[in-house]
Symmetry: C2
Subunit: 338 residues, 2 copies
């Protein structure tokens, strides 16, 4: 199992990124990681990795896309950047998966540019895992496709359901459409047309209809389908509210408790460890011919280690073959430009 890791991507690159790869290789003996980036900056962080050094290669490149650079412009101006090099390795089948905590827009644009899409997929979408009272659910798209068509959202339902079934182990995953009310006629045209498409499809028995923002964390469905603009906002609002509530709860508990303040602090730290978005590793760009994992810009060692492990799990689950097959079997979608 050979994966490529963008060693230059993320707020803390390359140190903790490279260390994350070392840790991942140590815990999975089948893993080979290609570290893509500036050799001179990467190698110092490989000192002490002797036991796995033969499974860590460096693919040298000279450029980096900055976290705040305009993606498409950056990819064009910097042909030797680490993200494009990762995509190139994937396109040439030299690796089974690529992982980056770098500029999300550039990571998506890199794949779109090569049109490295699975057969029948119109637009790949980023799938984020959201915690709920009933275990994780999948929210997609969270930022690859900000102005999708109904068919794109329908395909997100297909891909999300396959993901939920084979990765989250939900035997018959349910699908909800993010909207502003439960009635069919709610929302804008995109929501209404997508609703109709699901109702007329082979997924109709898994489709529970519209869900509202407050339903996600209740776990009312396994897959939440939405456009990349709304999904991205939702993902980040969750982050923001989580941070806010934890801060406020900490303050309130500190003011109220007497002798067990330290225990309360421990409890809250446990909660952060379990749910904090910075601790967990990466969202797959579903619909790509290969596996591409996009990590939070603030990813540290642990997040990268976890993302590489996740990439290996996805590769082993052979989700892509299932996606191609399922889309083949899908009802005829309204034709038209992609």
């Amino acid at each position: 199992m050979r994966l490529a890791l963008d060693a230059m991507g993320g707020d803390h690159a390359p140190g903790p990124i490279v260390t994350g790869a070392v840790k991942a290789a140590q815990s999975d003996a089948e893993l080979r990681v290609v570290l893509v980036g500036d050799r001179a900056l990467i190698e110092p962080h490989l000192a002490g990795a002797d036991s796995v050094r033969d499974r860590l290669e460096v693919f040298h490149c000279t450029q980096v896309v900055g976290m705040d650079e305009a993606p498409v412009v950056a990819l064009r101006k910097k042909p030797d950047n680490s993200i494009s090099r990762c995509w190139q390795l994937l396109a040439e089948r030299k690796v089974e998966a690529i992982v980056s905590a770098g500029n999300t827009g550039a990571m998506v644009a890199g794949g779109f540019r090569l049109r490295l899409f699975l057969k029948n997929v119109k637009r790949p979408g980023i799938a984020a895992m959201m915690p709920t009272l009933k275990g994780p659910c999948v929210l997609l798209d969270v930022g690859a496709n900000v102005a999708p068509k109904p068919e794109h959202l329908y395909q997100y339902g297909v891909m999300g359901a396959i993901f939920a079934k084979h990765i989250l182990q939900k035997p018959q995953p349910t699908i909800g459409l993010m909207n502003i009310g439960s009635e069919e006629a709610k929302g804008h045209d995109l929501a209404k047309d997508t609703h109709a498409l699901f109702k007329a499809s082979t997924l109709k028995d898994q489709f529970i209809g519209n869900i509202e923002g407050r339903d996600i964390n209740k776990g009312v469905c396994d897959v939440v389908v939405t456009d990349g603009y709304v999904g991205n906002v939702v993902l980040k609002v969750c982050e923001g509210v989580f941070d806010f509530v934890m801060k406020m709860a900490g303050k309130e508990l500190f003011a109220t408790l007497q002798n067990e303040k330290h225990l309360a602090q421990l409890a809250l730290q446990n909660l952060v460890k379990r749910y904090d978005y910075h601790e967990h590793g990466g969202a797959p760009l579903l619909g790509i011919d290969g596996i591409a994992i996009i990590c939070h810009g603030s990813s540290g060692e642990r997040a990268i280690e976890s993302a590489l492990a996740i990439a290996a799990t996805y590769a082993r689950a052979k989700l892509n073959a299932l996606i191609v097959q399922e889309l083949e079997n899908s009802p005829h979608l309204p034709s038209g430009e992609e």
Copy 2:
């Protein structure tokens, strides 16, 4: 100060709704409340309200729009419904403000139907108060206008800033545009065009540009502008995450603490009281010629009491005159259909 209250609107109507009005009248001696709804159902809840009975009138009507009914159809089929009667009282200048915890869509549609808009306002928008680390901010629109044009969003900025200045006491309110990244070129066409409109306007010094979902609760700006679809999702996601984190924190603390579990419970209850969306009263539909407050469907006595007090505050602040004047002074907006 005469206000109308939809006595039939909300999950718990009419009992706690009417009691909320009694409480509001008791704490504000200038308040007169017209209770709109079925007299036979309202009057029993006025027993014991003798001290304020002369300031509580009943406006009898026979129909109610259900919480899940399709708004426009319901308003047409039920001409004597309590929401339409409230709007009628406002249009006839018999009251200064109307308050409802009923069907939000019907409340909005009622005002749009009469086109009871302030001069120069193209589309009213619902403004919700969001808690942040730096005190409340205003998020709008949260559901009145799901497919707005850039001019509508610009006007939300104008109205939100006036609201933040005069109600939230922010001398020079800052305005942010909800988007999926900070760079100008981010997002869909609506976001990009709205960004350009703000940059070219007299609000340009107050406009801080794009903000992301995680920025709201940090308090990076006083007014967050977005379309009604995204705003509604954001509002409800905040509710959902808040509930989720409070549940998880409660569990974790209960498992970790030893002798001070009850104190922790108290602390969390305080937090809920302070931030729970069910406890607070109502979001104004800004841009209406008059005052219209939309309350959460689950509003109880306290939420209604607070919404009526808020309606009185808005009326006294004479925000509408300021909105008309500010829109008069605004730069020339691209013309076109509204």
